[in-house]
């Protein structure tokens, strides 16, 4: 099986030659190609070269298009800072208050270079690997986007204390977001992974998810032209997982390493794909033997689960992670051999 066949079989719940593995190695490609991160996160060809190196080195079953959420904020005018071993971050958000949204014109996804970068990187990756490896684009859910434009604190304050203002903000974001994400699909993204900050139990209440985040997500997902995977954003999500089921386009969920996989499966039902695994920060701290042992335990727990993928939770696998730790995930998956359904 190649990786596309393996992921498709996982979606369909069919037998596999081995368990699919999907560590998030967007950033790691820059390390493998010794590429300065400002180049990596602005030049689609440099990024695509990094992902070719990731594939050659680790043979993951999913390749990730750039995880550079701050670049979306930069397309709106936020000030970006490039770092030595991390994706770019925001130095300063472009807006300081909800009132400033009224005069803000969202950037055009078909024209703005910071947004075209994503699309072009996807195209290049699809051209080289698309017949064999799924290409995932990662972008936060729509309710998280204002945080990279006005800062998390101001956005949180708006959602909490000015619901009408928050709705006005989302009225601007939603059409932009739908065009942006459908552009990713048009460029060839196999699926889009959406970290759910404003659905995370660590960040917001169930009431906020129910009354604010989910209705927006449902409205957006209904307009998308491809499959979506919802992601834990680096914190346990089980307590709110039930609020994220039954949404259009959603085919899979990536839970946190602290979430109980049995309970997660129970909440999701038997047919959704479930990604689980170690936290990307923890992998850097462990030995390769520890990574392999922990992955084996997870795979043993999920042995009967035809819809399970061994992934990583949190953002990118840490820059300082020894390569043998990433290889250890694969070794663990291979040690279980075929998965017969």
């Amino acid at each position: 099986m190649n990786s596309i066949e393996r992921i498709q079989a996982t979606l369909a719940g069919r037998s596999l030659d081995r368990r699919a593995i999907a560590p998030v190695l967007g950033l790691y490609g820059a390390k493998l190609t010794d590429c300065p991160l400002e180049t990596y996160y602005t030049d689609p060809a440099a990024y695509a070269r990094g992902q070719s190196a990731v594939r050659e080195t680790f043979r993951p079953d999913v390749l990730c298009a750039p995880l550079a959420f701050a670049s979306i904020g930069a397309a709106f005018g936020s000030e970006l800072v490039f770092l030595d071993t991390l994706p770019p971050n925001l130095r300063r958000p472009v807006l300081q208050s909800v009132e400033q949204w009224d005069s803000l014109v969202p950037p055009d996804p078909d024209v703005h270079p910071r947004l075209l970068y994503f699309r072009d990187a996807i195209r290049l990756m699809v051209a080289e690997h698309g017949g064999e490896v799924p290409i995932a684009m990662v972008i936060p859910i729509p309710a998280d986007i204002p945080a990279v434009i006005m800062g998390l604190e101001t956005w949180l304050e708006t959602v909490l204390f000015d619901p009408a203002g928050a709705q006005r903000v989302m009225d601007k974001i939603i059409p932009f977001y739908v065009r942006l994400v459908n552009g990713f699909f048009a460029a060839g993204a196999t699926f889009v992974v959406m970290p759910c900050g404003f659905a995370s139990p660590a960040i917001v209440t169930r009431e906020i998810v129910t009354s604010f985040t989910r209705p927006i997500l449902a409205k957006v997902l209904a307009q998308l032209r491809g499959p979506v995977v919802l992601h834990n954003v680096g914190a346990p999500i089980l307590a709110h997982l039930d609020l994220l089921t039954g949404l259009p386009c959603v085919v899979a969920f990536i839970v946190d390493q602290r979430d109980d996989l049995v309970q997660s499966r129970r909440v999701l039902g038997p047919d959704s794909v479930l990604f689980g695994g170690l936290d990307c920060a923890n992998i850097a701290q462990m030995t390769a033997a520890e990574v392999e042992d922990r992955c084996r335990l997870i795979l043993q727990d999920r042995r009967q689960d035809a819809h399970f993928v061994l992934g990583t939770s949190g953002p990118d696998v840490d820059w300082h992670t020894p390569p043998e730790n990433i290889h250890a995930m694969r070794k663990a998956a291979e040690s279980f051999g075929r998965i017969d359904v």
């Binding site: 991390l86 130095r91 998390l152 909490l160 920060a281 923890n282 840490d318 300082h320």
Partner: protein, 223 residues
């Protein structure tokens, strides 16, 4: 329902105005001078215990609590009374996000809760070089520097603050508090970066700063 539970209920509902109204009513009967010590501080402790022990509070709820605490401090200041009336002034301390870290929210909440507890806080903001932390601590006479980092790579930059403290011969006198999301998922990271202590969340940081302050005094006295 007692005042603490009533306040928690309003905070859970995101009802900042309701929480303020509740506190104003209590203060009109008992006085603002008792509000911090008898109502706000104990409530924040309850929220903090719930947040870290069973994750029963969200960031949004703790943020509402922080804004209510800020509102109370503003009202006390407007009455031209010192914010820590009834308590001795604590500090000063220095806080900031380490170089290359731009995740301000946790640090700002630490600042709010420290001020609510009567601490004098020098907040240096985001992306602060190691030398700047130690320069400021020496300038104001701080015994505790609190450094925040959200992710692994920036957390490792905190080592440079440890090195700067040690290089200037200030180990023991200046205590290094470290915190941020990554410290919650990576046990042992605080020690690895040279921290003298860590706290799982912004509310618990108040107790941590108190313990480190005492530790600084003991170490300086050679106890």
């Amino acid at each position: 329902m007692d005042i603490h539970q009533a306040l928690i209920e309003r905070i859970r509902q995101g009802d900042r105005m309701g929480a303020n109204a509740l506190l104003d009513a209590w203060a009109s009967e008992h006085g603002y001078e008792r509000l911090l010590a008898e109502v706000l501080d104990p409530t924040l402790i309850l929220i903090g215990e719930g947040w870290r022990s069973s994750e029963t509070f969200t960031l949004a709820e703790v943020y509402v609590a922080a804004k209510v605490a800020e509102d109370v401090l503003s009202k006390i200041a407007a009455r031209r009374k010192p914010p820590s009336e009834g308590q001795p002034v604590k500090g000063p301390v220095v806080i900031g996000n380490i170089e290359e870290d731009f995740h301000a929210l946790g640090r700002r909440m630490v600042g709010i809760f420290l001020r609510t507890d009567g601490w004098i806080v020098n907040d240096l903001g985001n992306d602060v070089p190691a030398a700047e932390f130690v320069d400021k601590a020496q300038e104001v006479g701080a015994r505790v520097i609190g450094v925040s980092a959200m992710i692994m790579t920036t957390a490792r930059n905190i080592k440079s603050v440890r090195e700067e403290i040690d290089r200037r011969g200030l180990a023991g006198r200046i205590q290094l508090a470290v915190g941020g999301a990554v410290f919650r998922v990576c046990p042992g990271l605080a020690e690895e970066v040279g921290g003298d202590g860590t706290a799982p969340d912004a509310l618990d940081a108040v107790g941590l700063f108190g313990r480190l302050w005492e530790q600084s005094i003991r170490k300086e006295a050679g106890v």
